[in-house]
Symmetry: D2
Subunit: 234 residues, 4 copies
């Protein structure tokens, strides 16, 4: 498996290099850059995604994503930048109920486990627990913007840049970044703070994102930005 | 006051008659009609709006709106039509916090009272309490559609008609109806189930709505529809 | 008619005074204020609404709304503030075609006249013609925000304040203002630059707007702001 | 290059097989299925994407995508199912103009070529030209739903299923499908009618889509559905 994973990584890197040659020649893969007032948007770092034993459980949570989030949270809290946590759950998780708020998504993925009445499942992981003043947003679909007040909230408080983290690269994180730039925000994907559950998915999704929808930046690069951007609320 | 109110009503009725003459000649005030699968959308019938003593407290709750809602709820529950309750509250109600989810609305109205941490304030009025399977939707703005999953939810479950009730006529109810038809739903404003807190506001808002955005229908007319529409989920 | 109109105005002013007493005591009718970077959003000042002979034709266009718009446009253009013109039209105006983009709106109002193939009907009034660099946005519903790129456009270019004008007070202007504050913009309704086609509609809609959704300000007040706000694009 | 492409394909197929094993065990990759009333949503099959010589030019247009579209169009037109064509262009394509409707997207990709004043660039490819009654929708962002009237249009006309085609798999097609299911539509990605411009992008994006957001189906399977679904407009 490790060997196969290495082969895949190596082959994907070859493909990305070939694709980058095309993109660079044609004017893709530009830099959007950091802006004046950032917010941290943490996607679905809730127990069903971060703890073992669920259909949604992801890889590299303990050793990589949690530490990356702790660093980002510390910097945002020190400078009073807004933090938004999203999670996903549903009030009607019976797939046979014709009036379920799962919409049609349970016809593709096992979201019936995300039961609102069982808060343990969808609560934000206690290792990165929200503090007073940080938004906890329940969403029903992949994007943190779709069917939520995120865009209006960020605009009203003057945010122009979002650092997006969490899981998964191939669904909720990517959808959030695609919507983020569409809604007029500078979108930054924080590389080590983004995960998934299948081999390759982080790589090919970050590649597509960096080419077209947001800058993929390291945690260190984001920390340097958070610690130096000099925003004064008007 | 009663005399003044009667004078205003009478003068408004004259104005509406004159306006209706113009509208009728020009092709406004058409009927949108009831559709195949209705949902009941109950706007902000929560304590801060329905109980005495709040800035948001409305008129005619006990004697008119609650009984109207009970009749509509009974019919919807009997036939298993979806019911959505909205309420409005905020995670950060300090107007000086630059990151508040009140957005800019507290700069117009006293929404800082709608504190998420005090559930009594924003809970749905217990006289019309939701039952299992009915959606309770927290919204941040006037419209039940804006920044919520309402449109996607209704579309996914095949609803084509919304009966809109609650408070206030001049804000959340009207905004919900305006968005409802824009999002492709047949919108019905249920006359006796809609309230407000200032004289005239119900009248002029229902007049505008009926002219352009939805049919204003009586509770009886809606009950007759709910009891006869023969929807089968596919 | 003039006498009747005066009576209505007088009666409405009495009602507004009584309502304002309630609102003031309860903390409504606050000021949202002008912000750092304004845009002018001109709603449906297109021929079908501004020229004689259409079902949509409004009052006071020539003597009041056009001059008010010319002053606002001059100030915005001098200072390079963005200007957005909206208009409304449809690609399929046959009400019997089950696939029309009129949605359900033709079931309430005569929008079948707004035929995309007849540009004269929906073109912006030539007396206030757009110039190069100003957005012309075709919308399908009442609000300039609903189903358009307006929110994302404004956010991306750093606008935090919208001056809203045009027609009608009771439909597209009001819906635009309701959505504007919901999307996080400071909303200003420019009093003399807003019109309608029936008696009283401007008055009661501006009253509701000023109480809850945006500040109603005079043209002069807006001009003073436009000529002094000192925005530098970052 | 061909050899490298074969190696990549082979390696990706291995990765997809490994991922599918995980997904299947956990309840992903379910079937959403075809519904009652379909629409065909054709994404960005406009000259800048389908003709040689542009930064956006895609692969396999002539030999694969055009024939696939012609078959789908024929079936939809025969049965009077709605067809929507999207394209992308901008009224202000000067990247230095602070008020451009390109938003922030020109900071990632070369959309400054999509100039509204040069219709040749953004017109729908004449080989699959729209006919009267079919919607042509100008969008500003990746998703056909974002900042457009698509969701409201489809909902109003009773569509419950969208067949999505066009370019590119890694941007506008994927974003459209992600939004489509979120908005409550059964989403079908038509495999041979979807393209891109870099090696591997069609494969990894269709894989992610099929796992989580929509069913990837062949043209033949879609034709069989279009020719047998027995929708009667109510």
């Amino acid at each position: 498996m490790d060997r196969e994973m290495q082969d895949l990584q190596s082959r994907l890197e070859d493909a990305f290099a070939a694709a980058s040659a095309i993109y660079q020649k044609r004017g893709f893969q530009r830099r959007i850059g950091f802006g004046r007032k950032p917010a941290l948007v943490i996607v679905d770092m809730a127990n069903a995604w971060t703890r073992p034993g669920y259909p949604f459980t992801c890889e590299k949570i303990e050793e990589q994503l949690i530490p990356a989030h702790l660093k980002l949270l510390e910097a945002c809290r020190e400078h009073n930048f807004p933090v938004v946590f999203t999670t996903t759950c549903f009030q009607v998780v019976d797939p046979d109920n014709p009036n379920t708020d799962m919409g049609l998504w349970h016809k593709k993925i096992p979201i019936e486990v995300a039961d609102y009445s069982n808060e343990d499942i969808w609560a934000i992981d206690s290792r990165i627990a929200p503090i007073k003043g940080e938004q906890i947003m329940i969403k029903k679909r992949a994007s943190a913007f779709h069917g939520t007040y995120l865009a209006g909230y960020l605009r009203a408080i003057g945010v122009d840049t979002i650092l997006v983290t969490g899981v998964t690269a191939s669904a909720c994180v990517r959808a959030t970044i695609t919507d983020g730039i569409a809604d007029g925000f500078r979108t930054i994907a924080v590389r080590e703070a983004i995960g998934d559950r299948i081999p390759g998915a982080v790589e090919w999704n970050l590649f597509d994102i960096d080419a077209k929808f947001g800058d993929v930046e390291s945690v260190d690069s984001c920390l340097a930005y958070l610690n130096t951007v000099n925003f004064r609320n008007d």
